[in-house]
């Protein structure tokens, strides 16, 4: 596991410094009414890395990830996503950028009225319109194999367990071969064993599909398995930034409360 090899961690950290930046957020602000959730957030996601955004519930982690794909409109600051300023694009251009992003929602967000197969086909049929039926079937089978659920094709979402839903949702997110994966609390509500399986799956997706990921979580087991770099949010600000080893060695009380 990454956290057991400090030497390799340093190398990863140095390599990433020079790597291409896929997401760059500067001075991001977001309020809901009088509640300021994000007060001043700046961060970068580099090519090939898993960036974990850590923080307590209500610290604005999910709001941050939703601002990145413009599900929420920021009140201030800039988000540069794959070379595009997300705040200033709309319509077709925004759709083009979104096609390169995979998003795993906290609840899985599978379409209730559709089978697993229809859920997986949904983005393919709308975005890759040149694919024929056989190619669609092959792609669906491939992603299901990759998430370890090859026999779930005909199931309805209501028949699946929490872990299976997350896997299917992950399969739906990777079916369009995204460049960036955004994970919103991927292990929330799962037992420790399934949580670890999902975390390992995140790593395997990163390797197989060569994605870069932002992982929103407060689950330290997930952080330990997936993190190349960590950013900690607190009260709407970036509180700390570093590698897993640096966080684990920190004597800051807030950081220690997570890593004890």
């Amino acid at each position: 596991m990454k956290n057991t090899q400090e030497g390799s961690l340093e190398n990863i950290s140095e390599d990433k410094e020079t790597a291409e930046t896929l997401v760059e957020i500067k001075n991001l602000k977001k309020s809901f009414g009088r509640l300021e959730v994000l007060k001043d957030i700046s961060l970068k996601l580099r090519n090939g890395e898993n960036l974990v955004v850590l923080g307590k519930s209500g610290s604005g982690k999910s709001v941050l990830i939703k601002c990145i794909v413009r599900l929420l409109n920021p009140d201030g600051g800039t988000i540069n996503l794959l070379g595009e300023n997300v705040g200033s694009i709309k319509g077709k251009k925004l759709s083009e950028v979104r096609k390169k992003i995979g998003f795993l929602f906290q609840s899985g967000a599978l379409y209730d009225s559709m089978t697993v197969k229809q859920n997986l086909e949904f983005p393919l049929r709308r975005i890759k319109r040149d694919l024929n039926e056989q190619e669609i079937d092959e792609k669906v089978k491939e992603v299901l194999d990759n998430v370890g659920l090859p026999n779930a094709l005909k199931s309805m979402p209501s028949e699946l367990s929490g872990g299976m839903r997350k896997r299917i949702s992950l399969a739906r997110s990777i079916i369009l071969d995204p460049v960036i994966m955004l994970y919103d609390e991927p292990t929330t509500g799962l037992d420790p064993v399934t949580s670890d399986e999902i975390s390992e799956l995140i790593n395997s997706v990163q390797k197989k599909y060569k994605t870069s990921s932002i992982i929103i979580t407060h689950d330290i087991a997930c952080v330990r398995i997936t993190a190349d770099r960590i950013i900690m949010l607190h009260k709407g600000y970036v509180y700390a930034e570093g590698t897993l080893a640096e966080f684990e060695k920190s004597d800051d009380p807030l950081i220690m409360s997570f890593f004890k």
Binding site: K39, F103, E241
Partner: protein, 281 residues
């Protein structure tokens, strides 16, 4: 190894506090309350604008539209048939004594037909559909919103307005006139049963008498307003579902608000339609 970078939180918090609250909380509350209604109207206008824009855009979701036509039309049919039949039956039984007083029992089929075609058929069907279809749309889209399914659609570069709203609004707009025709037809059958409780009139004679009293000018304005009723049900149901808040409670609220608002708007649209028809004809 690089040293862990910790930002001075106290300093940034002080700056934020100094900048943040410019108006007192009371002033803001009053302003919010006053703006609430106008905000809702404005949001709905923007929603309708977006709906029109997507209706005439490329890549129409025809398969989903057909599915919605089936869900709205076919699945509402049994309820409409039962309601229509009872409507005709009750109207006939209730009207018979008054008509008998004036010795005009033979005019009963004509009177019932005009009432059903012009007003009772469209308005009762629309109100029933507001309850069944409007609440269904509000609850379904509301729960999709709460469980982030609409967000998931948006993130996967599928326009949720085009896929979810356009198809439902068009299906409701097209299916409601058809449901009203069924309600009218079964209303005639119910009325014929009602006439035969205290008399003996063949179905052919009854239909001949009923249709003899109806003109194109009775039928056409009623048909036009049923399209509007369908559009109102679709738009309000989808709007309320789409703008549902967070949590399961908001799903119930969205469904309830969809029924209440669409029923109210149906009655208002009916009143306006009747006034316009009265002026023109």
């Amino acid at each position: 190894m690089k040293k862990l970078k910790i930002i001075n939180l106290k300093k940034v918090q002080n700056i934020a506090t100094a900048r943040s609250i410019k108006l007192s909380e009371d002033t803001l509350d009053q302003k919010e309350r006053a703006n609430g209604f106008l905000q809702e109207v404005g949001d709905m206008a923007l929603f309708i604008k977006q709906l029109f824009k997507e209706t005439f855009s490329r890549n129409f979701e025809f398969k989903e539209f057909l599915r919605q036509c089936y869900e709205i039309g076919n699945k509402s049919l049994p309820l409409i048939i039962i309601t229509g039949t009872i409507m005709g039956l009750v109207l006939t039984i209730q009207s018979r004594p008054a008509m008998a007083k004036f010795g005009a029992v033979t005019m009963l089929p004509g009177m019932v037909a005009v009432s059903l075609i012009r007003e009772i058929g469209p308005i009762i069907t629309a109100l029933i559909c507001a309850g069944k279809i409007g609440s269904g749309m509000g609850a379904e889209l509301g729960s999709m919103k709460v469980t982030e399914q609409i967000d998931a659609m948006e993130v996967s570069a599928t326009n949720p307005i085009r896929y979810l709203v356009v198809t439902r609004v068009l299906a409701a707009t097209l299916m409601l006139p058809i449901l009203v025709l069924f309600a009218d037809a079964f209303g005639f059958i119910g009325s014929w049963i009602g006439v035969n409780i205290k008399g003996d009139v063949s179905l052919v004679l009854y239909i001949f008498q009923a249709f003899g009293s109806i003109t194109f000018l009775d039928f056409f304005p009623a048909l036009v307003k049923t399209f509007l009723f369908g559009a109102v049900i679709g738009i309000v149901g989808c709007y309320k579902g789409f703008t549902a808040g967070r949590g399961t409670e908001s799903v119930g609220k969205a469904a309830n608000a969809a029924v209440v608002l669409s029923s109210l708007l149906i009655i208002i649209v009916d009143m306006i339609a009747v006034q316009i028809t009265d002026m023109l004809l």
